[in-house]
């Protein structure tokens, strides 16, 4: 697919972020995250609460509050440019225009005092310099694109006048208004009813088809990610533990956490059997275990795991050393291939 960095939409290398705690040790939210995306790729980022997925998305957007957050190391290469090296003003111009974000609860994340149409045209005027009439027409087009039937009526409404599903579509319309190359969707369907979930996921797929935008789909629910993602990265305690094409991850997961997670998810076809629960819980960012963060809960753990942090290594047959190869399967564990004690 090309040499490193060339043509890649996003290349996050070794991103480390910590938060100054008021009491005691700083919270190490991200401890060296590596993430890569090609243009038009839908990458799922899966993790539980406290794993660092939200910090990752916030950091990508450049919205981390600078104290108390601190970027300790790493680069965020977006279309070749390191975002972390940009000035605040340059970063702001990228935000919304080239990297946009959709949030979890549309009722909280939309400004209640402005009409939907205004919230969209505002961006068009600011980033693309559109005049009122042009912006209004574009807003109507966007409303149609996201499935908000009766565009004009919706645009003239206030957020509280719309249902949950419509609010979420409105937020998506806002986010894609300037045709960003990267859309970050942070749990976009979690607050919605089940029947709306699939509709929103289908919408996201359509956006990738129609507009060629890359989508970083963040979720705690592996079942949802499976519907929509091309590739999946699993994050645990601030590090990516496994990263693979979708079917490889679900079909042959290599990292113990991924395997256990998949076994612990309730599925209709597991009826009659017990779920495999992972003992213990996700470590607090202020007290991340040394070595491999997962070792206290891992059935494969050995002496080595409590002192040596495993690096991410490739495990796809016949691969190139290209970070962005679509079939790249990376795992950070000492014992890939070791037999399970079950």
């Amino acid at each position: 697919m090309g040499t490193q960095g060339n043509g890649a939409l996003l290349d996050v290398r070794g991103l480390a972020v910590s938060f100054d705690g008021r009491s005691g040790a700083p919270a190490r939210a991200l401890r060296g995250v590596d993430l890569g995306m090609a243009p038009g790729e839908i990458r799922g980022l899966v993790g539980e609460s406290g794993s660092g997925k939200t910090v990752t998305s916030t950091c990508l957007m450049g919205l981390l509050p600078s104290p108390p957050a601190r970027i300790d190391a790493g680069e965020i290469l977006f279309k070749g440019r390191d975002l972390l090296g940009l000035s605040a003003e340059e970063r702001r111009r990228v935000r919304g225009r080239e990297i946009a974000m959709v949030f979890q609860e549309p009722s909280r994340y939309l400004n209640p005092a402005f009409k939907i149409g205004t919230q969209i045209t505002e961006m068009l005027g600011l980033h693309l310099g559109m005049g009122k009439a042009e912006a209004r027409a574009k807003a109507e087009e966007l409303a149609g694109l996201v499935g908000l039937g009766g565009g004009r009526r919706v645009l003239a409404s206030y957020p509280h006048e719309l249902s949950g599903g419509m609010k979420q579509r409105a937020m998506i319309a806002m986010a894609i208004s300037c045709n960003p190359s990267l859309l970050i969707a942070d749990e976009p369907t979690t607050a919605l009813d089940v029947t709306l979930q699939l509709q929103i996921l289908r919408l996201i797929l359509r956006l990738r088809e129609g507009l060629g935008m890359g989508i970083l789909f963040i979720s705690h629910d592996l079942r949802l990610v499976r519907i929509v993602a091309d590739t999946v990265s699993v994050i645990y305690a601030g590090r990516i533990v496994e990263s693979a094409p979708r079917e490889a991850l679900f079909g042959s997961p290599l990292h113990p956490y991924t395997r256990l997670l998949l076994q612990s998810i309730p599925l209709a076809n597991k009826r009659g059997s017990r779920l495999r629960a992972i003992p213990g819980r996700v470590p607090d960012a202020q007290a991340v275990p040394a070595g491999c963060a997962f070792h206290p809960r891992c059935p494969l753990a050995e002496e080595r795991c409590s002192s040596e942090m495993p690096e991410s290594t490739e495990h796809a047959a016949g691969h190139a050393a290209d970070r962005h190869a679509a079939d790249r399967h990376a795992v950070a564990c000492h014992f890939v291939g070791k037999t399970w004690p079950d």
Binding site: L63, R93, F103, H160, E161
Partner: protein, 308 residues
């Protein structure tokens, strides 16, 4: 259409409030000791004179009857005649009203001009020099009694440095010092509210969205946050105006302004029933009207309220 229904509902509430207040006052003032007939008749009057005066006033009839008569009169906007001056109460009120209105508006203007910008800056630049200034100002403003401030201002600017007149009314300059005394204390409270309201709005999730849209920070603060933050501020400002219109009695005393406050105070001392009643109704009406306007303004600012 929804808006009209909303407005009418509020109007109905307004009238009900005024009626309730005036009824309460009617009975309360007749409970406090003191007989207007005695006041009018003077110390040496005979029993027959007093009885005659009572008959003329109608204070010898049963309370309920008096209430009925009075209520009927009020409906015709006839608040009766003052017991002390003999003039129609309505006329007395309206003679003094413009002064009080001017004072109140000026006081409000000063209050708003001081509090809101400072409050916003305090919120936006928390813990900065401006914020500390604001905090000090609000502490002082709330601690200092307005009459003390009034006297102080008089001493400084009317006696020591003769910039402003000492007493009386009739020109704008007469109003400046009283308005400042009045506005200062109100500003203190309004500032705190402004700061708190802005801080709260700035912590809401939609602000994150606004930033994520790449909006410049000033747009985020002064357009997105401020519009929502203004709601409680507007409400409070309206309430303050209502209070000031009621007649900032103490200030009027200090500055010898012939305003409504002094009028009613005198009326209470003299047990001038019609005056006091008329006055209370007037204040209640004005206050309710202000609240009504504030409600309307509030619903213009906050679309969610129109449904309710």
């Amino acid at each position: 259409m929804r808006f009209l229904r909303f407005a009418l509902k509020r109007l109905g509430r307004l009238l009900l409030t005024v009626l309730l207040i005036s009824t309460i006052i009617f009975f309360v003032i007749r409970v406090i000791p003191g007989d207007p007939a005695l006041v009018i008749a003077g110390v040496d009057a005979s029993q027959e004179d007093i009885a005659a005066i009572r008959a003329k006033l109608g204070t010898d009839k049963p309370l309920v009857v008096q209430y009925g008569t009075w209520l009927a009169a009020v409906a015709r906007f006839d608040f009766g005649k003052s017991l002390s001056t003999g003039q129609p109460v309505v006329r007395m009120i309206f003679e003094r009203f413009p002064l009080t209105l001017a004072l109140a508006l000026l006081g409000l203007a000063i209050s708003v001009a001081l509090a809101i910008p400072l409050g916003i800056i305090s919120a936006v630049r928390r813990w900065s020099a401006w914020d500390y200034l604001g905090m000090v100002f609000s502490q002082v403003g709330m601690a200092v009694p307005s009459f003390w401030l009034g006297i102080l201002l008089l001493l400084l600017f009317a006696v020591k440095i003769r910039v402003f007149p000492l007493f009386g009314s009739g020109s704008f300059r007469h109003l400046v010092l009283p308005a400042v005394s009045l506005g200062f204390a109100r500003a203190a409270v309004l500032l705190r509210l402004t700061r708190a309201s802005m801080v709260e709005e700035m912590s809401r999730e939609y602000i994150v969205t606004a930033r994520a849209k790449g909006l410049p920070e000033r747009m985020v603060k002064y357009r997105h946050a401020l519009k929502n933050a203004m709601l409680p501020i507007v409400t409070m400002a309206g309430i303050q105006l209502g209070y000031m219109l009621g007649g900032a009695v103490i200030i009027e005393q200090v500055f010898s302004l012939p305003g409504l406050g002094r009028l009613f105070l005198t009326g209470v001392y003299q047990r001038d029933f019609p005056l006091v009643q008329g006055g209370i109704i007037f204040i209640a009406l004005v206050f309710s009207l202000i609240n009504f306007l504030v409600d309307i303004l509030y619903s213009a600012l906050n679309p969610k309220i129109r449904i309710g």
